[in-house]
Symmetry: C2
């Protein structure tokens, strides 16, 4: 058994969003998906993102407002959201005082056997 | 974009642990892993579990004490733990008042290309 701590993971900033990708862990090679944590500070938003990979995100701290096609959906802690291939998305943290932390798994569409 | 709500998911009890497997969602067919949420009530523990699948768990609410080979490790909210193939494990919720909610992804070892 191995544990992974998002507060000590190696990370980098994309604007003010902290991204900690799991490629830093040798164990990632044994997972059939890529993964990361990302942290959006209070009152901030992720840049618009769009990628061929499907992305399943679990809200672990705070609450996310996910904007896709001009429609915003609130996703509570513990809940999850699945972004489709090439779906442009922005993740907002509307809280004034609480960080938003999300765990995401992502994979190319062809990773799932036809 | 699709959202998934652990509080309304169809679930069943394994002793007093509530298990909500993602097979209930059509979208699960497009993920290269299986997944579930499970909820351990305050002061309770999961039954001993052991399975060939590797299992990556993210603590989404509360704090987990994961027991493997008689060794207990506390896993904080937001942190994750990876259980190896066939590793017997018990997940304790040592809180007296707070539920423990875990999101788990699991896959057979052969799901990762050699």
């Amino acid at each position: 058994m191995q544990t992974f701590d998002n507060t000590t993971a190696r990370s980098y900033l994309v604007r003010d969003v902290t991204v900690a990708r799991w490629e830093q862990y040798a164990a990632a090679d044994r997972m059939p998906f890529c993964s990361m944590w990302y942290t959006v500070p209070p009152g901030s938003s992720s840049p618009v993102d769009r990628h061929p990979e499907l992305e399943l995100s679990v809200v672990v701290t705070g609450s996310a407002v996910v904007e896709v096609d001009g429609r915003s959906t609130e996703v509570q802690p513990g809940h999850a959201f699945l972004l489709e291939s090439d779906e442009p998305h922005v993740v907002h943290n509307r809280s004034t005082d609480k960080e938003l932390v999300v765990f995401s798994a992502y994979w190319p569409p062809e990773a799932v056997g036809a």
